[in-house]
Symmetry: C2
Subunit: 239 residues, 2 copies
Amino acid sequence: MNSQPSSKILDNIRQACGTCSLNSLCLPMGLSHEEMLTLDQLVKRQLIVNKGEYLFRMEHHFDYLYAIRAGSFKTFLVSEKGTDQITGFYLPGELLGFDGIEPGHHQVTAVALETSSVCQLKFDELLQIASKIQGLQRHLMAILSQRFNNQFTISVNHNAEQRIARFLLSLSERFKRRGYSADTFNLTMSRQEIGNYLGLANETVSRILAKFREQGILESHQREMHLLDLRALQMTACG
Amino acid sequence: MNSQPSSKILDNIRQACGTCSLNSLCLPMGLSHEEMLTLDQLVKRQLIVNKGEYLFRMEHHFDYLYAIRAGSFKTFLVSEKGTDQITGFYLPGELLGFDGIEPGHHQVTAVALETSSVCQLKFDELLQIASKIQGLQRHLMAILSQRFNNQFTISVNHNAEQRIARFLLSLSERFKRRGYSADTFNLTMSRQEIGNYLGLANETVSRILAKFREQGILESHQREMHLLDLRALQMTACG
DNA sequence: CGACCAGTTGAATGGGATCAATAGGAGTGG
DNA sequence: CCACTCCTATTGATCCCATTCAACTGGTCG
């Protein structure tokens, strides 16, 4: 291996991954130089998806996972009646596309909520590498396990207030983990989309945000969010 | 390798796994003799759990996955208020315990709904084997992926009728896949538990089952279920 | 047999949906 | 720059599905 090109690539990866989605996928694992190079082989970086464009579509063939570098996405499935059902929102540093593993084609459609940048990872190659790199295999399963568990944090047994409080706390938590502000952020989704995801009417989302505003829990204007009292929000989330 | 003992063990496995949970985990993969023997090493078969006993408990250390040979389980988490929230029901041939992968301790408690028999699989060893056996790794991820996807089949956007119809269809489907009857089975859980899982009051479950009975969609008495019109049930599930 | 629990059914209440009207940005074109 | 349109968000009024409270029934088990 000639060291000059290698270290150049390495610098690129370091530079790229420092602020990037793969952060959560790679860096915590303490990869060696060779392992990082191996991992870099399967990454086609800098795929740009404009607002409203599809990253992948339901029933299309599954080949890739996507790591979000910047921007945000929603995933949704189309029910028998033709109505959409939003199944998740994805922020920088998060992986999406796992829905396609089992039947071999995607179960949901992914749309960019704003102009976004993603890394494309070939799943087959990722698995091959995972079987060699200690911890990567477990890390992937951990992501899936965690995602399954988190499903129940916004549950059928919670009322509208609790669901919205939990939703906001979830966003806050995820922004914080990526180094963004935990109390001030812009929603990239509409009230309609939040409502669809939480099983509420958009009017209910509006009304409860108004209530939270009156209670001094948060300030909001359109899609700008400023959480004033995280403690109160947590109390509300618990009922 | 001395062939006599090997083939004896193999016969045991074949005999055991033919009617067993691991069916779905091992057999579809087309394992070689050596691979089956490897896999057998990590299985402690025939763990019996009586009705009401815990298989594992929330916050306890995670080490094992469990494959159900016979019987059934529910998993639940205890909320901040101290109320239970049932997160899943598990039938013969299904794996449980994945909830503990990420933080390293279980996120839910698993209780037997009837006297049950399970295989205990050491997760670390399973991963090691998975990194060697082509397909097993992907198979494990497929299980997790599928489970995540299925979460949305019983969703916040469905009314009580739809949720119960979907719940019954899900049970029917799963029984059928294991070779049991798709239209006649005993529920091992109470109305209360079904309601908790679906986010409904037990009275609502009762009422809607009564409605289905009146409509000739099913016959039921206590926990005995006999689905008469799967087509109508599917229509109801879709709304 | 009696106690207890699960299941069923009825009546009243309430949370959130729906329908409807208005307000406020954002984008477009003159 | 303003006028116009379109879409999202907000707020009010009414309705309905599911919950809650309550009474009763049937099964199971000591």
